[in-house]
Amino acid sequence: MRPLDESETTQVFEKLFKFTGNNLKNIVESPSHEGPDQTPGRYCFRLHKNRVYYVSESLVKRATNIKRENLVALGTNIGKFTKSGKFHLTIQALNLLAANTKHKVWLKPTSEMSFLYGNDVVKGGLGRITDNINAYDGVVVFSMTDVPLGFGIAAKSTQDCRKMDPNGLVVIRQADTGEYLRNQEDL
């Protein structure tokens, strides 16, 4: 377990920024009330076994007591660095993203299942979409009842979505909650 180095930090923040925009500040600065301390601590990012964790400071202190080999995980896993050194967000980051995202897409109930099986979002399945999404922005996918289902990358801007045919791709899937069943061993 170690803090991220500079290049890793920029990579992680760039990814997060795609989803949250200016709300990234909230992620970094939000106070944590974990632990017995009276003064609220902060959250920080830690790298452990190529995975990035979003952890409160008090938890980090306590985790130092455990041997590196024995430490399985701590805090919230938000992504991992691939073998080639790229950063990928994983499905566990969904809660963090959903609370702070700027761009949202709501799915019709009929197309929720298709998305949860790992498919992309097509225009026909779109229930609602936030205004002012540009192409390749990070988008969080919700059900119509405001339950976050996953996230992905916008294939088209909101304006272009209007003119598309119903089968056109709107969101390219990156992670969905179905992964908790499908890829249990990887998570």
Binding site: G21, N22, A99, K102, T130, D131, N132
Partner: protein, 869 residues
């Protein structure tokens, strides 16, 4: 000047009449006494204009002397007056030669020329004097009455009769004054008839002057005072006008005369002339453009009728042109501006197709943002009616007008009066024109075929009679039919073209305004505020975009939304400039931006349900910035309705944040605003079942509250406010609101959690609630007596309500005030009575006591006496 010499030749100086010795009139002592006694009444006599009176009196005396010397009866004076009246009205020529001996004194005219008073002239002078100075006449009558007493006692018995005669005369003149209009008209008509008999028109008479009659006529005319001449001109105008309307073709020539009258008349005559010409033109101008014949056409031999028509048209056109030039020149003069504009507007409105409409239109558009209210209203109404009655001119004028306005906005850098852009709102666009016209083309083809076949059949039937001419005419007909079909199609295309041109101009203007507002915002505060405020055109521009949003091309939509977002004060990317910018626009304007954005979205919402998050954030913050006096509550209510009530779904977080904010908002503003907020709140609660958790007693929404554990009232993003971590404690305070309906509403909402999940959607919109309550508030606050002054101040600073509503409210308030006043007066009178009662009773007691004391005293006295006895 030659005429004047001539005239002096004719009017020979009359012989001097014998003077009346002044000492002949004696004033008795009694009269002096009478005057001194009744100083109040007779005082005015001393203040009389002695000069004029002596002139009249002298004249009368002179006449009397004359009559007496000629041994004529007393009535002769009257009859002579009558004769003169008749003569004058007939304007006969021999009046001039008959010189009264009376008029020995020369008179100075306005020109400074010295004349001998001829009878005719004197009479006219006298008449006008009477007309002009009614008051003077009354003085005269009083004077005469006073004088008539005097001579009665003096030996001169004749004078009385004469004075009575004079009085009668005055009385008759009075009658003339009362009848003036009718009588004068009759006179004018007679005069004109006379002129016509002579075969000359009045102005021409002056030039000709060949016969002696004409000379005299000219003289008479010269002698007429300015007013008389003006009156004459008025009647001339009226006469020409009527004759023009009855037979425009025949009397087209006299149009020129009317124009002439306009040119040389004074202020009033000019205005009258302009107006009557306007009425005539409005009636006789045809609905199409007149094309003057080319030289080639003029060279051709034509029939009499054609010639006549050509003459008519060319005269009409030249006079119309001259009239317009006159109007344009007068439009620059301040005192004539309104009249000229009115004329121009009416002309344009009545005949939008006639020649010179371009210059008319230019003149109207130029004044569309004039600081003068009347002028601006006129121009705007004209343009509006042009837009509304497009059928009259086929839309061409619309395009021109819209283009001109667009140019105007461009030239003035968007600093114009709001009205000038508001006229766009009355534009109407035909939806059907946008659809492809393939179907129509088919029917046309079929029709054409049908025509052709039908004709062929007929040809077969009439084969025997067929000759060359017939074939010729038939081919001609065919060509014509084809042309008709072609022209119709062109017409359709033309309409489409016109409409798209209009639309593009309109939106060009709108976008220019938006861009200008944006630029002036980003250039910091140094922008100069014009006479119409900082962004005068923004409000009508936003309204227009809202109205025509369904016609905006999808490609522009992105830009439009971007502009609106920036104007509303929230730009997603760069926070700092947006913050500095948002201070530029008022809260109302920013709310309007939000509303327009929602309208635009909704009108184009066929396929995609777009969530306007940025605008929600703006609204969320604007609610805090709202001040009830400064900003328009109407707009806020509308925004609440469109953004929160009409939208189909919301995020739970956002809905909760709005609910919380609206509840806090309704705590700090008047009844109307809180009612609007509460209605919205209820609506949101009914729609979002989960948000009813806010009504529960324990705070902390559990898993729903998300990552934010504590409510943050100052958060600018509704999603980050953590509203689920709090409760709606405001409702319990609101249920003790001073206004009963707000209180009931609040308690109703707090009971919502206990009710079953069945959704009763409120029928009342926030807007309606706001209007109702703002009416209600007036009543309510006035009724509570101690708050009276407070409510008055509020009413003064209140945002303008719809007129009818405000009027009604004021009435109610007035009525209430009256009621209060009467009640107060009743109360005070009652109190007064009671006080008086008490006073009386006290007095009564005192007197009773005194009496008792007196009695006791007497008793004691008696006792003492008895003792002493």
């Amino acid at each position: 000047m030659g005429r004047k010499k001539q005239k002096q030749k004719v009017a020979q100086p009359p012989e001097l009449p014998p003077d009346v010795p002044e000492d002949e009139v004696e004033v008795s002592d009694e009269d002096l006494e009478f005057v001194n006694k009744n100083q109040d009444y007779a005082g005015l006599v001393s203040r009389l204009d002695t000069q004029s009176i002596t002139r009249h009196v002298n004249r009368v005396a002179d006449a009397k002397q004359n009559d007496r010397s000629g041994d004529v009866k007393e009535d002769a004076l009257e009859s002579r007056y009558e004769k003169q009246l008749r003569k004058k009205s007939l304007a006969t020529e021999n009046v001039q030669h008959e010189v009264d001996a009376v008029d020995a004194l020369p008179v100075k005219t306005l020109d400074g020329e010295v004349y001998y008073r001829s009878g005719n002239f004197l009479k006219i002078c006298f008449l006008i004097g009477v007309i002009k100075s009614l008051t003077l006449k009354i003085f005269l009558m009083i004077f005469f009455c006073l004088v008539s007493k005097g001579p009665n006692q003096s030996k001169n018995g004749h004078i009385e009769d004469e004075i009575v005669g004079e009085n009668e005369d005055v009385g008759r003149d009075n009658g003339v004054v009362k009848l003036t209009k009718a009588e004068k008209r009759v006179k004018q008509k007679k005069l004109r008839k006379e002129a016509k008999k002579q075969g000359k028109e009045v102005p021409e008479v002056e030039e000709v002057q060949q016969s002696s009659q004409a000379e005299v006529l000219a003289e008479v005319e010269e002698d007429l005072t300015v007013e008389e001449a003006n009156a004459k001109k008025k009647y001339r105008l009226a006469e020409i006008g009527t004759s023009m309307l009855t037979d425009p073709e025949g009397n087209i020539k006299s149009l020129k005369e009317m124009l002439q009258i306009c040119k040389d008349g004074d202020h009033d005559i000019l205005i009258l002339g302009l107006k009557s010409l306007l009425a005539v033109f409005k009636d006789i101008i045809p609905g199409n453009r007149i094309r003057l014949p080319t030289e080639k056409e003029l060279a051709m031999v034509v029939s009499k009728d054609v010639k006549k028509t050509r003459f008519y048209e060319s005269t009409l056109l030249t006079v119309y042109k001259a009239y317009l030039q006159k109007l344009m020149s007068l439009e620059k003069v301040f005192s004539f501006k309104r009249v000229a504009i009115r004329c121009i507007c009416t002309l344009l409105e009545a005949n939008p197709c006639f020649n010179f409409r371009d210059s008319l239109l230019k003149a109207v558009i130029k004044d569309i943002s004039s600081p003068d209210d009347v002028t601006r209203k006129l121009c705007c109404n004209t343009i509006k009616s042009l837009f509304a009655n497009e059928g009259k001119h086929g839309g061409e004028v619309t395009v021109e007008a819209v283009k001109l306005i667009a140019g105007l906005v461009k030239d003035h850098d968007c600093h114009l009066h709001p009205d000038s852009v508001e006229v766009f709102l009355s534009l109407s666009f035909d939806e059907d024109l946008r659809k492809p016209e393939a179907a129509k083309q088919d029917t046309k083809k079929i029709k054409k075929k049908f025509y052709k076949t039908g004709r062929r059949n007929m040809e077969i039937a009439s084969e025997k009679k067929k000759n060359k001419q017939e074939t010729l005419s038939k081919t001609r007909e065919e060509v014509k039919a084809d042309y008709m079909a072609a022209s119709f199609a062109q017409d359709f295309d033309e309409k489409r073209r016109i409409q798209s041109d209009t639309l593009s101009s309109v939106f060009e203007t709108y976008f220019r305004i938006l861009k200008h507002t944006l630029q002036s915002g980003s250039e910091a505060n140094e922008s100069v505020t014009g006479p119409f405020g900082e962004h005068p055109l923004l409000a009508p521009c936003l309204n227009g975009i809202g109205k025509f949003s369904h016609l905006i091309d999808m490609d522009y939509m992105a830009d439009l939304m971007k502009y609106l977002r920036k104007l509303a004060g929230g730009s997603t990317d760069d926070k700092t400039p947006s913050d500095s910018f948002s201070s530029h626009l008022t809260v109302t304007e920013r709310l309007r931006c939000c509303i327009v954005a929602f309208k635009v979205m909704r009108n184009n919402l066929d396929a995609l349900n777009v969530d306007l998050q940025d605008f929600f954030i703006q609204l969320y913050n604007l609610i805090l910035e709202y001040r009830s006096g400064r900003d328009q509550g109407e707009i806020l209510a509308e925004a609440l309705k469109i953004m929160l009530c009409d939208d189909r779904q919301h995020d739970m977080q956002r809905a909760a944040a709005f609910i919380k904010r609206l509840a806090s908002f309704s705590l700090c503003f008047g009844a109307a605003e809180s009612m609007a907020a509460l209605v919205t709140l209820k609506h949101l609660l009914q729609k979002n079942v989960k948000c009813r958790d806010l009504l529960e007693n324990d705070s902390g929404g559990g898993s729903l509250s998300g990552s934010i554990a504590k409510y943050q009232p100052y958060a600018s993003d509704p999603n980050l406010s953590g509203a689920f971590a709090t409760v709606l404690w405001e409702l319990s305070i609101l249920s003790k609101h001073y206004h009963p309906s707000v209180a009931t509403m609040a308690s109703g909402i707090s009971n919502l959690a206990n009710a079953n999940n069945q959704v009763f959607l409120a029928n009342v919109s926030p807007q309606q609630a706001f209007i109702d309550m703002s009416l209600d508030k007036e009543k309510f606050t006035v009724k509570t007596a101690q708050k009276q002054s407070n409510s008055k101040r509020k009413r003064g600073s209140r945002p303008p309500l719809p007129l009818a509503a405000a009027g009604g409210a004021d009435e109610v308030a007035v009525v209430d005030e009256n009621v209060v006043r009467t009640k107060l007066s009743e109360h005070f009178s009652l109190v007064n009575e009671m006080e008086e009662n008490e006073k009386l009773r006290r007095e009564l007691d005192r007197t009773k006591l005194e009496l008792q004391l007196h009695r006791q005293y007497k008793k004691q006295k008696k006792l003492k006496k008895q003792r002493t006895m």
